[in-house]
């Protein structure tokens, strides 16, 4: 049985233009990617800005329409479901949004924000509902007494916790976290990330962790997929990616991580230059004639790379 499998997923955005606003072209935001999530793991999806990470996440949760391909959850293809049928699976896949400011409705009190999914999926009396919301607030480390406050009265980190509490209300199995800390202060990032790890154990959650920051992904993930121009270029366990990177793009990403050790800075710079040179030199080796990325090929049980 597959838990969650994204199979040959393609998401194209139409580009409209001309006099009648006809579709004249497509942006291939996601162009044929396949990935598997195992129960309880954290899968880190990394890549530069605009490579299609958000689009992948939003398509899995049903916010975008898949152009082609399958999203199989518990042996059911979610892309084939009608809206009404999809409602059943909504609970199981939830999302933590990138921007803690716009992802909470500014006109709603915290209790209404966190109770929104409860009101959609279960019928609780107002009293039970309030109990549950207070419990959740406590769980995410916020004062249960502040449930009648508005989002703007909380800090960014606290708001992100409210967003996490909201996602947890319906006991999801999978949480898609789209750069959940990139809008936060560095000092708060670690706090929220560690907290996410804690609740992962407690709720037995599976994360699809989207980020452009390899350092954070290394901290969070069991397995990592490297995305480039809408495709996966390399996929493997954390060790595979960090210790034996095979694709030049992965190497380049790794080389771009700033080195905090000042003594090794020169060495690091040299390595970065080398990698960049190799990227220029061996471009044809890693990309086909049209500059496209090859399909993933297995090179070990856990490690795949896009090479011819």
């Amino acid at each position: 049985m597959t838990f969650l499998r994204v199979e040959n997923l393609k998401v194209y955005y139409p580009v409209r233009g001309g006099f009648f606003r006809r579709v004249i072209d497509h942006v291939k935001a996601v162009d044929d990617i396949t990935l598997d999530l195992q129960p309880g793991e954290t899968y880190g999806l990394v890549g530069e800005s605009g490579c299609g990470k958000t689009t992948t996440g939003r398509t899995i949760i049903g916010l975008n329409k898949a152009t082609a391909g399958k999203i199989i959850f518990n042996d059911i293809d979610l892309t084939r479901l009608k809206r009404r049928q999809f409602h059943k699976y909504r609970k199981d896949i939830q999302m933590i949004f990138q921007d803690p400011y716009s992802s909470l409705n500014p006109k709603k009190r915290v209790i209404d924000i966190i109770a929104e999914p409860i009101r959609n999926f279960e019928k609780l009396s107002p009293k039970e509902e309030r109990r549950k919301v207070q419990d959740l607030m406590e769980k995410v480390g916020l004062s249960p007494d502040s449930i009648f406050k508005y989002p703007h009265e909380f800090s960014g980190g606290q708001r992100q916790r409210i967003g996490i509490a909201r996602a947890l209300t319906v006991n999801p199995k999978i949480i898609i976290a789209d750069e959940p800390v990139s809008a936060l202060d560095v000092s708060v990032q670690a706090q929220v990330l560690n907290f996410m790890k804690d609740i992962q154990k407690e709720y037995n959650l599976t994360y699809l962790f989207i980020s452009h920051d390899l350092g954070i992904v290394r901290h969070m993930s069991d397995r990592i997929g490297i995305m480039y121009k809408g495709r996966l270029v390399e996929e493997g366990t954390k060790e595979n990616i960090f210790n034996q990177p095979k694709h030049i793009y992965t190497k380049r990403l790794l080389a771009a991580i700033p080195d905090v050790n000042p003594e090794k800075r020169d060495e690091h710079l040299l390595m970065r230059k080398e990698v960049n040179e190799e990227f220029e030199r061996n471009y044809e080796k890693y990309f086909d004639a049209e500059g496209k990325i090859f399909d993933l090929k297995k090179i070990s049980d856990t490690h795949s790379v896009a090479l011819p």
Binding site: S103, R109, F148
Partner: protein, 302 residues
């Protein structure tokens, strides 16, 4: 702020409650004394007009008394009489009621249509949006005022209801466009996406998530619209394309001043109506300004 006190059974829990949108508006009004005074004065006028006009029968307005033509204000006719010896005060009250009824009804109807269609067009976009926008574009190209004037001349039995309907048929488009553009911006915010992933149906997202975020714009727009609609009604009546003679309105009273003799020597016929309009417009605008500030945190007084 109340101190939190949680005990076992949650009967007497005091929560830190934060001010809701309404209390912000209330606070803003309390800070701005002019707006507060305007609001009270406006409601006083409205209530007085509606209550008092219930006691005035049609015969009291229409009764012609040629012996009392153009009598200046006295103890029987507080504001004197017009060319037919009819009591100006009674006409003023009933006229104000008619004008206010028309303005309020048009504001409510156009808002209801405009908000509904604007929300739907902005939220769903695509084909629905296209259809609604084409209808709006079409109505915008029509010479609205001319059609209303033609309509008024053609319809034999023209009354308050007709007037409201014909005006509403044209004046919702501006609202719909405003709401649509705000909804377009609002739906891109992540809380809408979040609501979708939490299983909230579109209809509920529109009404309970997006609409509250437009409420301040809607309130401000409706207030200023009310002033505008009073203006349109009186303007048309003044020009003779509004309500017929038998149905007094503020516009018809003012239109008596088109006669130079009345204009210069029988001031009591038209001046009270003109002043009443001025006062109401000013009141509405002062309140509207305060609401506008309440809607924008950066401009608030307190």
């Amino acid at each position: 702020m109340a101190a939190p006190a949680v005990n076992g059974n949650d009967k007497e829990i005091k929560f830190e409650k934060s001010p809701s949108g309404w209390s912000i508006i209330f606070r803003e009004l309390m800070k701005d004394k002019l707006a507060l005074f305007s609001l009270i004065l406006f409601f006083a006028i409205v209530i007085y007009v509606f209550v008092y006009s219930m006691n005035i029968g049609p015969d009291q307005i229409d009764r012609i008394d040629l012996k009392n033509k153009y009598s200046p204000p006295n103890s029987i006719h507080w504001l004197g009489t017009d060319y037919g010896g009819r009591d100006v005060f009674n006409q003023l009250i009933v006229g104000a009621r008619n004008s206010l009824t028309i303005a309020i009804a048009i504001t409510l109807i156009t808002s209801a249509i405009g908000i509904t269609l604007g929300l739907i067009a902005g939220y769903f976009g695509g084909l629905v949006d296209n259809i609604i926008m084409r209808i709006i574009d079409f109505i915008l190209t029509l010479p609205t005022l001319m059609i209303i004037i033609v309509f008024v001349t053609l319809v034999p039995k023209f009354n308050v209801l007709n007037f409201i309907l014909i005006m509403s048929a044209f004046y919702w488009v501006g609202k719909a466009r405003l709401i649509r553009s705000k909804t377009l911006a609002e739906r891109e915010l992540e809380y809408v996406a979040a609501s979708k992933t939490l299983g909230t149906p579109n209809r509920k997202i529109m009404l309970f998530q997006v609409l509250p975020n437009l409420s301040s714009i809607i309130i401000v727009n409706m207030t200023l619209n009310l002033a505008g609609n009073i203006g349109i009604e009186t303007g048309l009546s003044y020009l003779g394309f509004g309500l017929p003679e038998g149905t007094p309105s503020l516009g018809t009273l003012i239109s008596y001043s088109r006669n130079p003799v009345v204009m210069e020597e029988k001031i009591w016929v038209w001046l009270p109506a003109a002043l009443l309009i001025l006062v109401m417009m000013l009141c509405i605008n002062f309140v509207g300004q305060a609401l506008k500030r309440a809607a924008d945190a950066r401009q608030r007084l307190g």
